[in-house]
């Protein structure tokens, strides 16, 4: 394990020249503002293009930026840097600004705290469904409306409630980023020995150096990346210099989830279903599937046929996971849902791999569309040039590699979850075996889907 305590003796070494670069960056008064403002600027350009730019996705800079660059790259960010994106996300900046100007700082309602993650899960599912039915990704205006909906939600939450209520309890990407960032290779944590006698809690409440944690976290009890966005406020405000940033093996956090939550595991499993749907609808075989469904359903309404496909993909994946958990629980004498919650986290690496692999196709085979549409903004038209960065075969090799890596990481995670939950080897083995079969099956399905030819976004 490559554990690097970036501040082994914080009380003595605080604010000295020997401080590691990453911590110096987080402590800098320029951070995260120096990244937030350019991001906000680009976001404005994207919104303008989506709403008032070319109606054809192929020619729209906003579509290229959002769906060819941002969406494919974002899971890679989560994997490498946790929720760092959330620190510079334009919506977070917008929330902060509106809160500063108009905010009333009401406490977050209890129901939102309790059911927020379910709202996130449902919103994510609904948006994915709506994308297919209404063609959000293919339509710059549709994408623009989606961003406007989010913008409105962000502003309403920002002016009424405290801190980044939207980001923590409502952002549809929050559930995804929370899950993915658990697999990240860096973590920000407080040093328990230093925090033991602290009564200030400046990290939570804020002080003259920085505001309190925008995600409502208290670093000294934080044992997960799910809600840390690496904004660096706690690094700046902590009077005892307790905060450390450590590297860790990818997926390690998933091995020791202390309080597994069904809603988080549920999202992990549902995302696998969504990856399947995303892939299936972009395959040439999709038309054949649609025609069969049209015959079975007795209607040629895409709304109906896609909704059936979507519900089937979600529920079959969840049902398969439940049956796996049922068999696993039989070996350990527990409830199926309890094992579902525990082992659902093991699907996250494969989710991540599937998500990146799927979007890698768009990123690498259409990536130059950003350059071309950007040049068109400046009046320089580019014609008859391929937007591909890599050839299809090279992309497919990368996709397979990712799926294999994701499957292995998921299997290893499931094994570690079993070992950390059951002291007896035999019991751990019985708990793990059904997941071994299930994860292998998911890996094979993903590999088959990536073998088939896929359609472009732009």
């Amino acid at each position: 394990m490559s554990k690097v305590n970036l501040n082994p003796n914080p009380l003595k070494q605080a604010k000295t020249g020997s401080e590691p670069l990453i911590k110096r960056i987080l402590r800098s008064p320029w951070y995260p503002g120096i990244l937030q403002w350019p991001t906000l600027l680009v976001f404005n350009l994207v919104i303008w293009q989506l709403l008032w730019g070319p109606k054809d996705a192929h020619d729209n800079f906003g579509t290229a930026m959002t769906w060819v660059i941002w969406w494919p790259v974002i899971p890679i960010f989560f994997m490498l840097l946790g929720r760092f994106w959330c620190a510079v996300c334009p919506f977070a900046t917008i929330s902060d600004l509106f809160q500063k100007w108009f905010g009333t700082n009401l406490p977050v309602p209890r129901w939102l705290k309790k059911y927020g993650i379910w709202i996130i899960d449902i919103a994510f599912i609904v948006i994915t469904w709506a994308d297919h039915v209404y063609g959000i990704v293919e339509s710059p205006r549709g994408s623009g409306y989606l961003l406007l909906i989010i913008f409105t939600g962000v502003v309403v939450a920002g002016v009424l409630f405290s801190r980044r209520t939207w980001c923590r309890y409502l952002c549809f990407l929050g559930g995804l980023s929370g899950n993915y960032s658990r697999a990240a290779v860096v973590e920000l944590r407080a040093t328990p020995e230093v925090c033991k006698n602290c009564r200030d809690l400046a990290c939570y409440k804020g002080n003259e150096k920085a505001p309190g944690c925008p995600m409502f976290e208290v670093p000294r009890t934080m044992d997960s990346n799910a809600l840390c966005n690496f904004c660096g406020y706690c690094v700046k405000s902590c009077p005892n210099d307790s905060i450390t940033i450590k590297t860790r093996p990818a997926t390690k956090e998933l091995w020791f989830i202390r309080r597994p939550k069904l809603e988080e595991s549920f999202l992990a499993v549902v995302i696998m279903g969504i990856v399947f749907v995303q892939n299936i609808t972009m395959l040439d075989v999709w038309d054949t599937i649609l025609k069969t469904l049209e015959k079975l359903a007795g209607t040629d309404s895409y709304f109906v046929t896609f909704t059936i496909t979507f519900i089937l993909a979600m529920s079959l994946t969840v049902a398969a996971m439940w049956f796996t958990s049922f068999f696993s629980a039989r070996g350990t004498g527990e409830r199926a849902w309890s094992n579902f919650a525990k082992f659902g986290y093991a699907i996250i690496p494969l989710d991540l791999a599937g998500h990146v692999a799927h979007n890698l196709f768009h990123l690498l085979s259409e990536g130059l569309a950003v350059v071309f549409t950007g040049m068109a903004l400046l009046g320089m038209e580019v014609h008859d040039m391929s937007p591909a960065i890599l050839g299809d075969e090279a992309i497919q090799i990368l996709q397979y590699s990712l799926i294999v890596l994701g499957t292995v990481a998921s299997l290893y995670t499931a094994k570690r979850i079993a070992v950390s939950n059951y002291q007896e080897k035999a019991k751990a083995g019985k708990a793990f075996l059904p997941y071994l079969v299930f994860i292998l099956l998911l890996g094979v399905i993903n590999a088959v889907l990536f073998y088939l030819p896929m359609a472009h976004r732009m």
Partner: protein, 211 residues
């Protein structure tokens, strides 16, 4: 004046300007009202596309060749309200009155394999205008893309002609009502926050349970 107040005033002004500007710039009105240019004279026509005279080949017995010019407001047509105008004249350039004009706009939607949709047909009720030779109809188009205009004309001398022409319909931007709705929600939330700020003492510094 404190900086915060200046920011607040600037943001409110910018928001108001943004929405009112959008609403006013793109507001369409019924033909002849503000927001639309009335094609009053031939020079007002924006490059009338040459209409394909399908009758010319099929009906060689036609003696008089009437000239039909097409003008749209706006040009090109947009998703939403439009006005389609025709100027009909004799070969000598004299306006022709009492022409019976029947028009249909047709679109064959493409669904990229995502289901089938029947052709969209829109009848254009052309009516003679105050200016001799001018006939016009409103056209509310709910879809952008490629439409075809099909015209059937019956002249005062009993002669009949039909025309077909492709017209591109563009989507100018987002729906103004949707923008206004989002703006209203945001403005409402800001107002509510200001009211609550004055009536409630709020603080979020309560440390989470377990600390």
């Amino acid at each position: 004046m404190p900086t915060g107040r200046i920011y607040q005033a600037a943001v409110i002004a910018a928001l108001a300007l943004f929405f009112f500007a959008n609403l006013s710039i793109n507001t369409w009105a019924s033909p002849g009202k503000k927001g639309h240019e009335e094609p009053q004279a031939k020079q007002d026509l924006v490059a009338p596309p040459p209409l394909q005279d399908s009758a010319r080949e099929t009906e060689p017995q036609i003696k008089r060749e009437y000239r039909v010019q097409l003008a749209t407001t706006p040009s090109p047509l947009v998703k939403g309200k439009n006005k389609v105008s025709l100027y009909i004249s004799t070969p000598e350039g004299q306006p022709v009155e009492n022409v019976l004009v029947k028009g249909v706009l047709r679109m064959e939607p493409e669904m990229k394999g995502h289901g089938k949709m029947p052709a969209i047909l829109l009848d254009l009720p052309f009516a003679a205008q105050a200016e001799p030779g001018w006939y016009a109809s409103g056209a509310v188009l709910k879809h952008d893309g490629s439409w075809s205009l099909e015209l059937a004309l019956v002249y005062p001398d009993g002669q009949e002609q039909s025309f077909a022409s492709d017209l591109a319909v563009i989507d100018e931007g987002p729906n103004k009502l949707v923008l206004a709705a989002f703006g209203s929600i945001i403005a409402g939330a800001i107002l509510l926050a200001q009211v609550l700020k004055r009536t409630l003492k709020t603080s979020d510094e309560e440390v989470p349970a377990g600390e």
